[in-house]
């Protein structure tokens, strides 16, 4: 091949009967009983959740949106003074870029409905330069009219084209014509992702809008992801002089997530719960990687979908389900659940063998038990959620530090490890020590909250306390006997040793009465929490009531593309599963074998080398591994290495080096 510059490589034909050695594993799909029914059950339950989510999102934004709408309504450009700056709103929307779009579209709806304004959103993608930006702006504003007007528009432009000079399509004169007809009070331009815009384009846009301000009532809204100061630093001094406005802070996404969590997962009437592992993952991902409300909602939805799709007994979550609607396969699946087995075993231990036999044999009686236990389980989960929120309220009102979020409390409660935890002990102790000035607002709050089915009579507690406080004449608040301020420490020095001894101050009669009240409250709270904070995973049917599998969720929401490619190349056996390059036969280390794909071999050689790789060295090492006996025919090996190298280059792992023509540069390292 020395004399040939290039040649066509004809790979040796494998014989057609032989199946290829390496091929991906495939398996047949399983049968899915009652899929349509589960789909409808999913849809019903998810619709409720979606309503709650929408409601929460709208509530979260409403304050900011109202402010912005009021600002726009108030900013009337005065006709007399030509030199007024452009009214500008800096909407600091936070780093969760993906939720900006929906925020601005909701904002647009409320602006349009409450003020007589035209509203357009510009994004950086559609505005690479000033001309395109203006074109886009003109198009978006002028096509906002109703259908009836549009005919007139067409007619009008047709006439002007025949009659005289036509406006170029990026001329704001179009907007002026439109404005003369429609007479809107403001033209609001929202710039959704200000940071992504070219600064020069923004400066010019501000300049042009300022110049037109005496004819067109523009209002600018800048969506800012970092901070308003950052934006001001980027703009030139002259543009800043043309702008005058206010800053609007959008609710931070972690606050919204917290609210969403309270409304969807930790709410009392949710038929299907997300388990502690998964909700912990969802929250952690928000904290560590992305702050994105939409992503949280998607994760939740996916969990619901997977539960109903992959879990056959999930059909029992459908309300109003009749016995005849359930197929026997579902009962069979249910009998295989670990929680069913546990339940049966406890029944056996209690000596109810006949009941167990009935349950194992008769679908009808099992059905009745299931319906009963689904209701019981949901009630238990509801009381757990309620206790979690009560716990949160208590902590918040006693101003304990560090502040612990409801989501954290709920997740720990759902994992069943809140009773006996330091957090629980600390909270309960501080209840004991509370002085009356903190307890009064807490009880008042709880009384107002009036949790349904709460076992504690808050009203009575409050009235008793109120009476005590009224009678109390002293300056300070009432203190219980466990309050630290009722302790005094005495120091005695005996034989050069310091002894510290604590002494209780003598309590007044009122303080004693108050201590009794606090002690009663403590007991009742303790009883309530102990009864409510159960381990939900121990419940019968917990697999149906709670979805807590991390497997498909992690792969879908946190894929590892780079890791997957690196692993596939470094140890191809993991994916191919063929017997020929099984790693376990070797000494544990990856062994390079000729049976591996050529690209994988080359990649492993590549891993061993430095930044610059000599192509000739690579070739000799590769040849040693492929190890064809007949040295004459290099064409196969040569073709393989060339293809492998091209593939590595295509993956972006190597690039040709400019300094040394016979070397390739390494540009990616494994494990990053």
């Amino acid at each position: 091949m020395e004399y040939e510059k290039c040649y066509i490589y004809a790979p040796p034909e494998p014989s057609s009967e032989e199946r290829p050695l390496k091929r991906p594993r495939t398996s047949k799909s399983h049968s899915q009983p009652q899929l349509p029914e589960r789909l409808s059950a999913y849809r019903r339950i998810w619709t409720q959740q979606e309503k709650r989510i929408q409601q929460t999102l709208e509530d979260a934004d409403s304050v900011t949106q109202e402010k912005i709408v009021r600002f726009i309504g108030a900013s009337t450009p005065s006709e007399k003074e030509p030199q007024t700056p452009i009214p500008t709103g800096l909407v600091v929307a936070g780093p969760s870029i993906a939720s900006h779009g929906s925020f601005f579209s909701r904002l647009g709806q409320s602006i349009k409905s409450e003020t007589n304004s035209a509203y357009t959103v510009l994004t950086s993608g559609e505005c690479p330069n000033l001309k395109t930006l203006l074109k886009c702006l003109v198009k978006k504003i002028t096509s906002r009219t109703d259908d009836g007007d549009e005919d007139g528009d067409l007619h009008h432009s047709g006439v002007s084209a025949r009659k005289g000079p036509r406006l170029l399509d990026f001329d704001l004169g179009h907007v002026q014509q439109w404005q003369n007809k429609n007479k809107t009070q403001h033209i609001v331009i929202a710039i959704q992702d200000t940071e992504a815009f070219d600064t020069a384009v923004l400066v010019e846009l501000v300049d042009i809008i300022y110049s037109w301000l005496d004819r067109l009532p523009f209002v600018l809204l800048f969506g800012i992801a970092t901070s308003a100061e950052n934006f001001e630093d980027r703009m030139s001094g002259r543009s800043l002089r043309y702008l005058d406005g206010q800053k609007f802070d959008v609710t931070q996404s972690d606050v919204i997530i917290e609210k969403l969590f309270g409304a969807t997962l930790a709410s009392t009437d949710v038929p299907l719960r997300i388990g502690p592992t998964l909700s912990h993952r969802l929250l952690d991902r928000q904290k560590d990687h992305v702050q994105n409300v939409q992503d949280f909602i998607d994760g939740l939805k996916y969990a619901y979908m997977s539960h109903f799709y992959a879990n056959c007994p999930s059909i029992f979550l459908d309300e109003g389900l009749l016995f005849n609607d359930v197929s026997s396969e579902s009962f069979e699946a249910l009998r295989n659940l670990p929680s069913f087995r546990r339940w049966i075993e406890t029944m056996l231990e209690n000596g109810n063998a006949s009941d167990v036999r009935i349950l194992l044999e008769s679908d009808q009686s099992l059905y009745e038990k299931i319906v009963e236990h689904v209701g019981l389980g949901q009630a238990a989960m509801a009381s757990l959620s309620q206790a979690a929120s009560l716990f949160h309220v208590v902590r918040e009102n006693l101003q304990l530090s560090p502040p612990v979020r409801l989501s954290t409390i709920w997740t720990r409660a759902a994992a069943g490890d809140i009773i006996g935890s330091p957090l629980f002990r600390e909270t309960m102790l501080s209840v004991k020590k509370t002085s009356s000035d903190r307890l009064v607002p807490l009880l008042l709050f709880l009384k107002e909250l009036d949790v349904e089915g709460s076992p504690i009579d808050w009203d009575r507690f409050y009235q008793n306390l109120d009476k005590l406080v009224q009678e109390h004449a002293g300056s300070g608040p009432l203190r219980s006997q466990d309050d630290v301020r009722n302790d005094s420490v005495r120091t005695t020095v005996i034989a050069q040793k310091v002894l510290l001894s604590k002494h209780k101050a003598t309590l007044s009669a009122q303080d004693k009465a108050y201590s009794d009240l606090v002690a009663r409250l403590f007991d009742e709270l303790d009883k309530y929490f102990t009864s409510a904070f159960i381990d939900p995973r121990a419940l019968f049917l917990s697999e149906v009531l709670m979805y807590d599998l991390k497997s498909p969720h992690t792969e879908v929401f946190q894929p590892k593309p780079r890791f997957a490619i690196e692993r596939a190349l470094a140890s191809p056996h993991d994916y191919l599963g063929c017997s020929c390059c099984d790693r376990s036969q070797g000494e544990g280390e990856a062994i390079l074998a000729a049976t591996q794909p050529a690209t994988a071999i080359l990649y492993q050689l590549f891993l061993e080398s430095g930044v610059l790789i000599n192509a000739s060295d690579l070739w000799s090492a590769f040849e040693a591994i492929i190890g064809e006996d007949n040295q004459e025919d290099e064409s196969r090996t040569s073709a393989l290495i060339q293809r492998a190298l091209a593939e590595l280059r295509y993956l972006g792992l190597v690039k040709p080096s400019r300094k040394n023509t016979d070397h390739v540069g390494k540009i990616m390292w494994k494990g990053l």
Partner: protein, 477 residues
């Protein structure tokens, strides 16, 4: 209107511009007298060029049109604009409508000449004003020269070019009259600004308590105090920061309310100027009055008055303002810090700073530090690294430093990291460094750099409990 009347009106409307108004009125007040075919009015910003010419032409009722060049996006746009607004102006000044069909297109300068020639044939004098011609975007290179020679083909067209600098070089024609609008000196600025003094009392004091304080008296006080106040503002601030009328007025208006606050509160009389100056001296010492800001409401001027004794208070307030309004996720912050370090540390020092398995790290670092400062000082001054522009780095270096910074080495290689990098790029906190192929997102070995400064990086580091300065080569300060 007669030329003398025009002159008087303009003089009263625009004080301190006598000679310029006189020159312009001579040229453009009479219909039957010839005007110069081309005139250049030049001067810096806020010297009254555009407004005087506009008022003059309106008063003289000459047919004219004014085109703001900064509204025109391209050269073609300007040409179309000229024809269209000339048609509009002639329609407005004349009686009959002009048939517009012949003027549908103006692609280039020659068709502009043809169109204008056809348009102005057999008509009287027409004045075309091009405002800010030197700021025109994508102007055809021959435009200026062509405008200078329009007089040869269209005798009844008179063009006024308004620019900030004289255009003698660009026009290629000699003997073009120039009217220079000189920047206002101190005395003129004070005269102009004192024509409309703002009020001391936004709501007049109640008539029952002060029956003698009439509105005439109040106006007199306003003018008296405003005159002295503006002189002080000019001498202390505007003289050094912005001497033009607009920024001077802006500064004065910004400081005015804070200045008269004690009078409104009742602690000083309206004529206690010198005591007021001493009391409010911090207004003239700080930079807040001359900075351009979008958000006017949160001006710290008023607050600063209460804490006169400690100058540190406004500083800390400012620093608090500078902190992140919205918190970034945990790993995103680490990515940003890693990017900052990758940009400001030379890659050869990475082994020293980020290898975990060497106990010589501290020693090496100190040696490096001492050598770099002690040795180079004698030869040439070394600029601290964090004051230089960030240098580009490949993505893998960023990820490697990111992993070295984290305490927990088991961060999964998930796609979330790449999502964050993309997000940061669209926030311009990370920027793709230029060069060939930088538009391609999949370009192997693409380089990046950071888009923020030291203060921000330090803030990020402190929010996750990491002192960035410890990892920075050469240290900071």
């Amino acid at each position: 209107m007669l030329p003398d009347e025009i002159l008087d009106t303009l003089q009263s409307q625009f004080p301190c511009r006598e000679s310029q108004i006189q020159q312009l009125t001579t040229f453009y007040s009479e219909h039957h007298l010839p005007s110069p075919p081309l005139l250049v009015a030049h001067g810096l910003t806020a010297t009254g060029k555009s407004s005087i010419i506009k008022s003059l032409l309106e008063l003289s009722s000459l047919p004219h049109t004014i085109i703001r060049c900064r509204e025109c996006i391209t050269g073609r746009h300007l040409l179309e604009r000229i024809v269209a607004s000339s048609l509009d102006a002639l329609d407005a000044f004349g009686d009959e409508k002009i048939d517009r069909r012949r003027y549908a297109r103006t692609e280039n300068l020659s068709s502009l000449v043809v169109n204008l020639q056809r348009l102005l044939e057999g008509r009287g004098k027409f004045v075309l004003v091009l405002d800010g011609i030197d700021k025109q975007r994508e102007a055809p290179p021959t435009m200026m020269a062509a405008l200078g020679r329009f007089r040869e083909v269209i005798p009844n067209l008179s063009i006024i070019l308004i620019s900030s600098l004289p255009l003698t070089q660009a026009l290629y024609t000699s003997s073009t009259p120039h009217v220079h609008f000189v920047p206002y000196p101190r005395s003129s600025l004070l005269t102009i600004i004192s024509t409309k003094p703002p009020k001391i009392f936004l709501t007049p004091p109640s008539a029952d308590k002060f029956p003698d304080y009439t509105s005439e008296l109040a106006a007199e006080d306003d003018a008296w105090l405003w005159g002295r106040f503006t002189a002080a503002v000019y001498d202390s601030l505007s003289k050094h920061t912005g001497r033009d009328l607009v920024s001077f007025r802006m500064t004065a208006m910004k400081l005015w309310r804070a200045f008269v606050e004690p009078i409104v509160a009742g602690s000083f009389g309206t004529r206690d100027f010198s005591r007021l100056m001493v009391n409010r001296r911090h207004l003239f010492q700080g930079e807040e009055g001359v900075l351009d800001r979008i958000i006017a409401s949160e001006s710290p001027l008023i607050n600063a008055g209460s804490s006169l004794t400690s100058s540190a208070a406004p500083l800390t307030a400012k620093r608090n303002m500078r902190t992140l309004a919205h918190d970034l996720p945990y790993y995103t912050k680490h990515l940003l810090i890693a990017a900052y370090l990758a940009s400001y540390n030379p890659s050869r020092t990475d082994v020293t700073y980020f290898m975990k398995h060497t106990d010589k790290r501290k020693n090496k670092r100190r040696v490096h530090h001492a050598a770099s400062t002690g040795y180079t000082k004698a030869k040439h001054r070394k600029i601290s690294r964090h004051l230089l522009t960030p240098s580009p780095f490949p993505l893998d270096r960023l990820l490697a430093i990111f992993r070295a910074l984290l305490d927990d080495p088991n961060v999964p290689q998930a796609a979330d990291l790449y999502t964050q990098i993309a997000t940061l790029t669209s926030m311009r906190l990370l920027v793709r460094a230029g060069g060939a192929g930088s538009a391609d997102a999949l370009e192997p070995g693409a380089k990046w750099r950071v888009g923020f400064g030291w203060e921000y990086a330090r803030g990020l580091g402190r929010s996750v409990g990491l002192e960035v300065g410890e990892y920075l080569v050469g240290g900071v300060d």
